[in-house]
């Protein structure tokens, strides 16, 4: 089934007020930033309020949308003319975007609330909330945009927010470097997105979805593929997919709520959004671009999982896991309409359980004086009961424990991929097994076993303002998957936006791949328990085997980047500077010096002897006469 036509909204209802979703948090950010210290007292509350307000608007829009006939569910709202002849700023309200909106505003609001507690001791809390609000606004613009330009504004906006938040503790050089790295790597992706836009504009003369998508098929095959690959480059940057994955692990330098919101639940999924949004047009089923998407997805899925196995930093472990999970989503998105719903479903459930996990990790860190090394945790389950329970639920969800969210969504992905391409499917299954291992390792190292922390640490449960969001998130982690996947609820809902396969897949509980998955997960978990639960975990990281080091070093991704880009880049820079100073400017200065020097030498001709002058006149006269002679007689 093809996606529905995009209609321009006739006005009325919550849909025509959808812009409030963006403007509310944006206003919040502006007030907090411009207001300065005056807003210190109530700034965080304003931030929460704006986020919640956006959620309310999103909910109202959602309600209005589902009240419409499915064929009418793609409404675009033009706001104003942005660049005449090129693009307007407009919103596209359709099932896909509203799903994202709900996720972003709901999880976002919870994390805002959580941050009240988490950041309570930070002198710059107001600024933090300003950035969070800014992020929410940009993210909403990204998903709500009805054309690529507006999407790009949101796209870079979230990049900015991400930059600001990773570098929130900018006085730490590591944070500053990580922030910059995130931005620059993202820019590489943006390059792809920009060129994709140029190509689209050159092909179609427009950048609006409503005009591009229906005509995409008229472009030549090569152009379609090119656009698809370029979009994918953008998506890779934002979603930390290979080969642009390296920034995400470093991004954990940011405060934990940031990691939860931006680097787990929402922003990093923007790439998936982009692929799904443009899917029908540029990644149709069976296309080259789609194939590349699936390959990237699988590769990242495995890479992230492997990285996750070796990390001792709890957040980095989770970050690896995020990479991996997004890999699943990409994989699903790459196979076409059959996968979109699962990709989005996994995206949503992942948003909840990963946020849950991150916030839980944050709660642990909060309790442990910001210690992130799991080797210095251990046995925390009794001291942090709520955190433990919620974290454990998130854990079960992510490893795909039957009947929890992850089980439905991940299994759905594996199954649909299996239909599409068995090799990719089995690789995905393998990834699920590794997930079982590293997540179990994390839980065991953190909450079980003997305590390994310092004398100074006094672990304590977090305040209610932090635990309540955990509880809510864990509740959703339990049930959301089943709700979305069973009876193809999400697929049907999304179909006006992204289309769907002609025949809806049923949910099969006990397929071969499903069982194998479960078995592999169990094996993985078992190994982890055996390795970390039964034996002593050394506080100091052991050297580890080659493979461990390989994983620990992020599969040498940074080393590769350094060798391939950074070092040559530095050399190039030095060369260019040298060339500029000595080469180009050297020529200019040399010319000046040459003229000056020749002046210095030539003036010696003026010897001061009148006889020399007379000689020059005499010779000159002879030459002149000769020249006249020559010219005249020629």
């Amino acid at each position: 089934m093809e996606p529905a036509e995009i209609l321009s909204h006739a006005g009325g209802g919550a849909i025509s007020l959808a812009w409030l979703m963006i403007v509310l948090p944006l206003a919040g950010a502006a007030i907090l930033l411009i207001g300065g210290r005056a807003t210190n007292k109530w700034g965080h509350l304003l931030g929460v309020l704006m986020s919640v307000g956006a959620f309310v608007v999103a909910a109202l829009v959602f309600l209005q949308l589902i009240g419409l006939d499915p064929a009418q569910r793609r409404q675009s709202v033009n706001l104003y003319e942005f660049i005449p002849g090129v693009a307007n700023i407009g919103l596209l309200i359709d099932p896909l975007s509203i799903s994202f909106c709900l996720l972003i505003t709901f999880v976002g609001s919870l994390i805002h609330i959580y941050s009240i507690g988490y950041m309570s001791h930070d002198p710059d809390r107001r600024r933090f909330f300003a950035y969070l609000n800014l992020f929410v606004a940009a993210m909403l613009l990204l998903v709500l945009a009805d054309n690529y330009v507006a999407l790009f504004i949101g796209w870079e906006g979230v990049g900015l927010a991400s930059y600001l938040l990773i570098g929130f503790w900018q006085y730490k050089p590591s944070a500053a470097v990580a922030a910059k790295k995130a931005f620059v790597v993202n820019r590489v992706g943006d390059f792809g997105l920009l060129v994709a836009m140029f190509l689209i504009f050159a092909q179609f003369g427009t950048l609006s979805y409503a005009e591009v998508f229906p005509n995409a098929a008229q472009a030549s095959q090569g152009v379609q593929t090119a656009i698809g690959l370029l979009l994918l480059l953008g998506a890779c940057g934002k979603s930390a997919q290979l080969p642009l994955q390296s920034w995400l692990l470093d991004a954990m330098e940011g405060p934990t709520p940031v990691s939860a919101l931006i680097h787990a639940a929402t922003m990093v999924t923007a790439g998936v959004y982009l692929v799904v949004r443009s899917g029908a047009a540029f990644f149709p089923e069976g296309s080259t671009a789609g194939l590349v998407v699936t390959i990237v997805g699988v590769a990242t899925l495995l890479a992230g999982a492997i990285i996750g196995t070796a990390k001792d930093d709890i957040k980095k472990g989770l970050a690896g896991s995020t990479m991996s999970q997004i890999g699943y989503m990409m994989l699903a998105a790459g196979i076409g309409p059959a996968g979109y719903a699962f990709a989005i479903a996994h995206l949503i459930t992942h948003g909840f359980f990963k946020a849950d996990l991150f916030l839980g990790a944050g709660s642990v860190m909060h309790a442990m004086n910001d210690e992130v090394d799991m080797r210095r945790y251990g046995g925390l389950r009794k001291l942090l009961p709520i955190t433990f329970v919620t974290f454990f639920i998130g854990y079960l969800a992510i490893i795909g424990f039957p009947l929890l969210s992850g089980y439905f969504t991940k299994d759905g992905i594996i199954e649909s991929v299996m239909h599409h391409n068995a090799i990719l499917g089995w690789l995905a299954v393998l990834g699920a097994g590794i997930t079982g291992f590293y997540m179990t390792r994390m839980v065991v190292m953190t909450f079980f076993g003997p305590k390994r922390w310092d004398e100074k640490a006094h672990p304590h449960e977090s305040p209610a303002v932090m635990t309540w969001p955990l509880i809510i998130l864990s509740v959703f982690s339990v049930g959301l998957g089943a709700y979305l996947v069973l009876s193809n609820r999400l697929m049907v809902f999304l179909s006006p936006a992204v289309g769907r396969p002609a025949d809806l897949p049923g949910f099969h509980a006990f397929t071969v791949p499903g069982l194998v998955t479960l078995a592999l997960v169990a094996v993985g978990a078992g190994i982890a328990i055996a390795k970390y639960g039964r034996s002593e975990v050394p506080v100091v990281q052991p050297r580890g085997s080659f493979l461990t080091v390989f994983a620990r070093r992020d599969l040498y991704g940074d080393a590769l980047n350094e060798a391939l880009f950074m070092r040559p880049g530095q050399w190039l820079t030095r060369l260019a500077v040298f060339f500029d100073n000595r080469g180009i400017d050297g020529v200019v200065n040399g010319l000046a010096a040459g003229v000056g020097g020749s002046s210095g030498r030539l003036r010696k001709i003026q010897t001061g002897y009148v006889r020399s002058y007379a000689l020059s006149i005499f010779v000159g006269a002879a030459v002149l006469a000769g020249a006249w002679f020559v010219v005249g007689t020629l």
Binding site: S612, A614, I617, A621
Partner: protein, 516 residues
Amino acid sequence: MITAPTIEYFALAPLLIIFGAAIIGVLVEAFAPRYLRRAVHVPLTLLSLVGAFALVILQTIRGVPTTPAAMGSVAVDGPTLFIWGTILVLSFVSILLINDEEQFVPSAASVPGSAEEEKAITEGAAHTEVYPLALFAIGGMLLFPASNDLLIMFVALEVMSLPLYLLCGLARRRRLLSQEASVKYFLLGAFSSAFFLYGTALLYGFAGTVDLVGISRALAAAGGTETLLLVGTAMLGVGLLFKIGAAPFQAWKPDVYQGAPTPITALMASGTLVAAFGAVLRVFWVALGNDSWNWQPIMWGVAALTMVVGSILAITQTDIKRMLAYSSIAHAGFLLVGVMAVGEKGQNALALSGLLFYLVTYGITTVGAFAVVTLVRDPGGEAWHLSRWAGLGKRSPKLAGLFAFFLLAFAGIPLTSGFFGKYAVFRSAVAVGQGWLTGLVVLAVVASAAAAFFYVRVIVLMFFSDPSADGPTVVTPSWATSTVVGFSAFATVALGVFPQPVLDLAEKAAKSLFVQ
């Protein structure tokens, strides 16, 4: 029986006034008591210049004669009148500078540094002969570009030069340099006039006459391949190019400009240059106008060499007057570009008007610049060395500002007269529509960019360097010097913003071209 010659006294009146005033000046020297001489000379000289100028204007209004005066030896035509007016104005302001007795030696015959000289200074002795001498030189300048035959041109050349040879040696300070300048100028001047004369002889041999128009006619009859003509033209060219300071005959200019008393330098750099260019134009356009394809290539080389040599050598100069001398050489090169821009009648008028305008603007700015030079002094006289000018912009910003302005005008920055001068000449050259000439214009602008460097260097020194503790003092200018500086600055601005009136005059003067 010889029929009495007809002399058009009215047409020649400006000349006669100047020569007359000069002779009266000599009589004053002979008979007036010492204390009175100066008081007589200054008004006499200035009035004669004003009177001559008035007569020039009157003639312009009355209508320009179309035939040469004084039995065909003096051509008082449109361009001549314009040049006369220009020279008279420039001379007037130069005379105001000469009025500064500090500049001239009290007793030229006494040995420099001797007790006699000391005494002469304390006695307040002065060579008031400079006024009649200057008037003779000015008379020569007037006659030189108006000469309609080569004989009178030769005589005019000498009338103009001889007093200048003398005047160059009369500086009060740095007598050795001044005398050296004098002797160099004299020897080289005499040497070059010999060439001029030899060229005249050959042309006489070729044409049977020294009348410019006669030569032109002979040329038309003979075609351009007569070897006498070729060599003669070359020789004549040497003499003329020497006077305008074109390379490779430029060597005297820096030395003489540096050594001569600054007011005399001003007079030479402005008046002589104008007169010499007038003469160059007359010879090459009137006598050799039909032969332009022969002399243009050579003139091309000379012009290119001149502007390059002038611009490049100026860059490393450390003496302000010497630098201005090299600048003058470069400007001579630019002016030569206009000399080549001949073609049909309209084109000639265009080029001529451009040249005339350039001469006016350059002359006025030059006098102004030298006037400023007279004001910046060390204990031992004028502060010539550029390093002494460092930080002048702070010590006396107005004077430095004016000087900077003159320099910018030399560089040809828009909104100064120099810009329009250059523009007018280059325009006429481009208008010929010949690639080689346009190429020369390109070379000229490149050279003027290089030339800008040394003007700018002085500005850098004056404004961007810090003054030294024992820097030169700026004397309070006398009324005369203030007038000169003020006038030059005003004219440089006015011609830079509203050049049209003077352009109109130049065009009107050029329209009739030289009498044939």
